[in-house]
């Protein structure tokens, strides 16, 4: 049963997506045509300055509520008059008033290339209020300032806010599937379903590295990254630190944990203390082993480098979020002869860790390692859930590849069908 859930959700996704792809497209935005052409915007000055008699005014104003908004916009469309043939025509002026009032407000001027529709409510000086009945008038406007106005039209609809954004359904579906899978595996994990996690090289090395430091009688250096506690990498690193502290307490190896963020520092201290308690040796916890160094990035690095040169730790852990300092840390560490284990989700720093450290946890491996070491069922369940989502993504990409091949051979357009299912509109 467990195995079938992703497949079922995937089928659900495809089916719903298919239904969407068939559904009508949302109304195009009035400003969707952004092409700018020199000829179009150039105004022939020599042309007649006044529209003249017998001109047909814009007509047939239709006002509809702009969808998926907070009731603060209306779509105004109309039919053009005869102005489009005149060279001195510059655009349509849109007038609006609240029903029952006299004065019209000029709420906008369309550009030549914007056509005969206008979204009213985007101008912060002329806000559209939800539920208010407006009246509109559209005037073809000429270079001379002359205008040919349409009749006053009572807006057919008032602006109203929607309770659901129909353009966000794919996101909603994505969220629900993700949430569903994570929760499903949470509960599966809590019920005690055995969950397999593949071994990660870096994790196995952690125990080995602690052992080596113990044999050599040298300390272990653990840098929990340079970021704050709201960073996922820091959170993962703190969990791993707890495990390392427990092991270290069992072996009686000294541990050094320099910190850059004051909050992370207090949390790391508590975590290490907890690790010693779990190992049954709270008395062995040295208060000076976890310390706040400085908040300056480079001063922090200089400080840690100093520790490496003086204390010559046998093992260096760099787990968490790192920036430019990664290179300086790892270079110094490799020269001091320590075993180095790094792990970060900072993609730009990973190459330097890979070329200088013995083991490197790449991106998501860091999160997985934290779940692996934490051995908390919910954390394992979360990794499983993420894997299931990755499975869905992989299935869709594979399907895309196959469809693309089909298109190539059979000359069909099946890939576009799949693309339409997953593609979201550019604008919410």
């Amino acid at each position: 049963m467990l195995k079938r859930v992703p497949a079922m959700l995937f089928a659900l996704l495809l089916a719903t997506g298919f239904a969407w792809a068939q559904a009508e497209d949302p109304p195009p935005a009035a400003d969707s045509e952004e092409t700018l052409s020199a000829e179009e915007s150039e105004i022939a000055i020599d042309a007649a300055v006044f529209p003249g008699d017998g001109m047909i005014a814009p007509s047939n104003i239709v006002v509809s509520d702009w969808p998926n908004d907070a009731g603060d916009a209306l779509l105004v469309t109309f039919d053009p008059g005869s102005e489009t043939e005149n060279d001195s025509f510059i655009g349509y002026t849109i007038y609006r008033r609240i029903q029952g009032t006299e004065e019209f407000q000029k709420v906008g001027l369309t550009e030549l290339n914007e056509g005969t529709s206008f979204v009213d409510g985007y101008d912060p000086d002329f806000v559209v209020e939800p539920g208010v009945q407006y009246e509109y008038m559209v005037a073809a406007t000429y270079l001379s300032g002359a205008e040919v106005s349409s009749e006053v039209t009572v807006a057919q609809e008032v602006a109203s806010g929607q309770l659901y954004h129909s353009g966000k359904t794919r996101v909603l579906l994505g969220c629900i599937i993700f949430l569903g899978l994570i929760l499903f595996y949470f509960y599966a994990a809590q019920r005690g379903v055995e969950m397999y996690l593949r071994p990660i090289a870096g994790i196995e090395a952690i125990d080995e590295a602690i052992g080596r430091a113990t044999e050599m009688g040298k300390p272990i250096l653990y840098v929990p990254g340079l970021s704050t506690i709201s960073d996922v990498a820091t959170i993962a690193s703190i969990t791993i630190l707890g495990r390392v502290a427990k092991k270290v307490a069992e072996y009686g190896t000294p541990l050094l944990v320099p910190n850059r963020d004051p909050i992370v520092y207090t949390i790391a201290e508590e975590t290490v203390k907890q690790g010693y308690m779990e190992a049954g040796r709270p008395d062995a916890f040295d208060k000076d082993s976890v310390f706040f160094l400085t908040q300056s990035q480079f001063a922090f690095v200089a400080g840690v480098n100093g520790i490496m040169m003086r204390e010559k730790p046998a093992t260096n852990f760099y787990l968490g979020m790192f920036w430019a300092e990664s290179l300086i840390l790892a270079e110094t560490g490799s020269l001091s002869g320590a075993i180095q284990i790094a792990g970060t989700d900072a993609v730009t720093q990973l190459p330097f860790f890979i070329t200088t450290c013995d083991y490197t946890l790449i991106g998501e491996e860091l999160y997985a390692a934290s779940a692996y070491l934490g051995r908390e069922p919910k954390q394992l369940g979360s990794i499983k859930g993420q894997d299931a989502c990755k499975g869905i993504i992989m299935a869709i990409i594979t399907l895309g590849l196959l469809l693309s091949l089909t298109d190539l051979i059979a000359g069909t357009e099946t890939l576009n069908w799949l693309k339409n299912i997953v593609t979201m509109p550019v604008v919410d």
Binding site: L172, S296, A299, V347, L350, F352, E364, E365, I383, V422
Partner: protein
């Protein structure tokens, strides 16, 4: 005049920091400390004049309608200070919880859209279209297969064995390494650029040897 003094001060600090390459020294230590003090001091000054003054103090002082509601975030914010008093430090969790909760909630659908769905959408490329040069075709295949293989590498619930997971993850890690190589190469350029900037300052603005 003040500009000349300024350039000299800047030049002295620049050289002071470079002297660290030879040996750690007092001028370097001074720079290191100054930068912490100035940047934090700057942060406070700007936060005060740009946030607290216009968004909190002025509306309340002017007695704007509903401004008293702003006292809620103000009090919440003040609770951060309790962190320095161990007996009531737990109160500092309240502002953190406010920012964390709302931040995570807002972030969730946005990340779903930007880092998952948009990327999925972009992975669905036709590998061949009429008139595509061969390197683009090969590139598209490499890109799509590369994404797939690298995703297999990050798949944790199956052992990396067998033709699919075994080979897939092996290809995956190779593709990842090529990607890291690219990052590496670019980073070298970035680091050298920073040095170039300082040399242009020292030789140009300060010594006027180069233009």
């Amino acid at each position: 005049m003040s500009e000349t003094i300024g350039i000299w001060v800047a030049a002295i600090f620049t050289i002071g920091i470079y002297s660290f390459l030879y040996k750690e020294n007092p001028l370097y230590r001074l720079s290191e400390h100054l930068v912490v003090g100035i940047s934090t001091g700057f942060g406070i000054a700007v936060t005060f004049t740009q946030v607290l003054k216009p968004k909190l103090i002025e509306p309340i002082a002017a007695g704007e309608h509903g401004a008293w509601l702003l006292l809620i975030p103000a009090i919440l914010g003040l609770l951060y200070i309790t962190r320095f008093f161990p007996s009531v430090a737990w109160l500092s969790r309240y502002p953190m919880a406010f920012l964390m909760g709302a931040g995570m909630g807002i972030g969730f659908p946005l990340s779903m859209k930007a880092s998952v769905l948009r990327q999925l959408e972009a992975s669905l490329v036709p590998i061949y279209e009429a008139g595509m040069p061969w390197d683009v075709v090969v590139g598209n295949v490499v890109m799509v297969l590369g994404t797939l293989a690298a995703l297999i590498y990050f798949f944790f619930s199956k052992p990396h064995k067998g033709p699919f997971f075994g080979t897939g993850s092996k290809i995956g890690i190779w593709v990842i390494m090529v990607g890291f190589g690219a990052t590496f190469g670019f980073t070298v350029m970035g680091r050298i650029s920073l040095l170039i900037g300082r040399i242009q300052f020292l030789l140009g603005d300060w010594l006027h040897i180069i233009k």
